[in-house]
């Protein structure tokens, strides 16, 4: 089955899930611009990195399973990988930021 042979309901479902995921990613990036401090900003992109990514990966798995006519779950590999790595990177980055702020004697550093 090629993409043009997909049933209409499947196309609408894939588009709805993808657009929902993209909206979450957009909201996360918008928070990155709007929020005032680094320790607030570090929360914002996780919106796109967790649920937004999961929705788009789910839509992709749906799409490839429908077009290839078999269970195509290789997209979940990306989801698994990002779920493991996102907390690690953000904790490392936040710790580096706390370390730099403490060295400079910033008053607004989160407590121990």
């Amino acid at each position: 089955m090629t993409p043009s042979d997909l049933p209409l309901w499947a196309a609408w479902a894939i588009v709805a899930v993808t657009v929902a995921g993209s909206l979450l990613a957009l909201t996360g990036s918008f928070g990155l611009v709007v929020l005032k401090r680094f320790y607030e900003r570090v929360h914002a992109p996780t919106l796109g990195a967790t649920l937004g990514m999961a929705l788009i990966v789910a839509a992709s798995a749906m799409f490839w399973s429908m077009t290839e006519g078999r269970l195509a779950l290789h997209d979940l590999l990306i989801g698994l990988f990002l779920t493991v790595t996102t907390p690690v990177t953000l904790i490392l980055l936040a710790r580096a930021a706390v370390y730099r702020d403490r060295i400079e004697g910033d008053e607004n550093v989160p407590p121990e």
Partner: protein, 94 residues
């Protein structure tokens, strides 16, 4: 509307949103004000780029985009960890 038209326009709208998200992340990366803000902006930028490529794979029906998205995800993780280490220690490999 046919299924391919729904996919073409709907996924195109999703791609426009992801592109706007990339622009916002790039603004934060260029604006700063500090190094950790730039690294956070870069992290968000590559994540949105990876999602954009994944959607492009669905829109064009070419399976090869999946590999590109996977590699971008892995390299982005390594890059952000290396940059965070650099901010902490001043060098990456001690």
């Amino acid at each position: 509307m046919t299924a391919s038209a729904v996919l073409y326009w709907g996924l195109g709208a999703a791609q426009a949103m992801l592109l706007l998200a990339m622009l916002l992340a790039a603004w934060r990366m260029m604006r700063g004000p500090r190094a950790q803000d730039r690294v956070l902006g870069l992290d968000t930028l590559y994540l949105n780029a990876m999602l954009l490529i994944l959607v492009q794979g669905m829109r064009s029906g070419v399976g090869l985009y999946f590999e590109a998205a996977l590699i971008i995800g892995m390299l982005g993780f390594t890059a952000t960890v290396a940059l965070a280490k650099f901010l902490m220690r001043g060098e990456v490999i001690e």
